[in-house]
Symmetry: C3
Subunit: 183 residues, 3 copies
């Protein structure tokens, strides 16, 4: 499964920060039932890897690890069963490591240089992060224009109300967010 296929599983990738492992599986069941099958569990809590493993047991769920910022976290996430990897930014170091492991990888970008470094590595699917704080829809529109093959998953500050506007951009395949969890 490529990262492009995972991005096309549905228009929204829930970004999950979870403290309580016991809550992980019911949450994943609810999200999958609502049509959100690609789930990003951020490594911001000590229980994240365990929660990710719990969620992966839900039939139909494709569970990835988010907030991966080092090779050590990359390997820990893969060992815990992550089916894809998301990072807030892109470095050559982490990008090369993810490619070497052969795991679908969605790195964050915010500038044209970020995107060009991704293309140099053979990557053209990106998280646009932080989406709203980086200038919102006008910024992504301008950034995407020179890169015909690049496709994006904007994440950061997007809400149920604004998601449709982002999804209307030709360069946007899906959006990431947490609004459906808090609500």
């Amino acid at each position: 499964m490529t990262i492009d296929v995972i991005m096309r599983l549905g228009p929204i990738i829930p970004v999950i920060v979870i403290d309580d492992v016991a809550a992980a599986r019911p949450l994943a069941e609810r999200l999958v039932a609502a049509g959100m099958v690609a789930l990003e569990v951020t490594l911001r809590t000590p229980t994240a890897l365990e929660a990710m493993a719990e969620m992966a047991r839900v039939p139909g769920a494709i569970v990835g690890a988010g907030t991966v910022v080092s090779e050590a976290q990359l390997d820990a996430a893969i060992d815990a069963g992550a089916q894809f990897i998301v990072s807030p930014g892109l470095t050559e170091r982490l990008g090369c490591a993810a490619i070497e492991r052969g795991i679908p990888y969605l790195p964050g970008v915010a500038t044209a240089a970020d995107i060009m470094r991704g293309l140099d590595l053979g990557l053209d699917r990106f998280k646009f992060f932080p989406a709203v704080a980086s200038g919102g829809i006008p910024a992504l529109t301008a950034l995407a224009a020179p890169f015909a093959t690049a496709r994006f998953c904007p994440t950061g500050g997007i809400t149920a109300a604004t998601a449709p506007d982002w999804l209307a951009l030709p360069s946007v395949v899906c959006v990431g967010g947490s609004w459906m969890i808090a609500g």
Copy 2:
């Protein structure tokens, strides 16, 4: 001819996205007649290289290639007669390649780290891209302040109405835009 000399040929560099090769030469003639002699043809269309070659036949025109994001495009643009190269962002890889080829090069920057990487390579003429979406005039003013020798060609979202404000900045030599083509 250095990139600085090219930037000083006039206050505006037209950024040209062209589909119809037959329209290339008349367009270049019109722009040159209007005092815009440095022309950036973006490699966003299949006919761009051919259109660039057509435009280069117009007396007085200095024609460059824009949206160059790889070494392969860099070489194709040089082979097609590009007199300067513009890229949306700056990577060490493309920067080194352009310097090695000895062609005037205007790389895009959006952050202080981008500018510092350029200076490390010996480059101090930059496209500020995307100019408006990256924070506009306050952003370039703040970014330029620590870099006394750097000069910029802001591009992206600039209009006939706003160009004079950009050109009034001491760090700005010229601006890029497409408003004079559509209109």
Copy 3:
């Protein structure tokens, strides 16, 4: 003394652009008396290194060099007695050089990739620059979220009126600015 200790000497680091060496010591005395003991002297003026040396004679002052963008400037600043180094952006080249010299170092960042490159080098104290033009408090809040250990000194466009809002962010240790000098 680590860069973290220097950042915690007080909530505000004055960013000083000085032309007149004779004014340096009285200015430093006034700032230290007002509780601002960590002083950043930017290398934007020819007299900066000399002014920095003058300021370092003021009892209690911890004087660093700002706007350091090259290894040559790094070494010149250290030779002139700089006790810490600030740069507008972070490159691997300058970051490695600062670490090798063993001097407390506060590199500027504006994107998640910048922060990740810092973490790769073992750095987790950053200047957020240019703070307001990069998207302000919402941008730093979004950028800081994935990086639990990172702490920031936002600089650029902050005023006496807005400093408290920045200092209220959990990821912010201190802020940089020049408003107390002009006033």
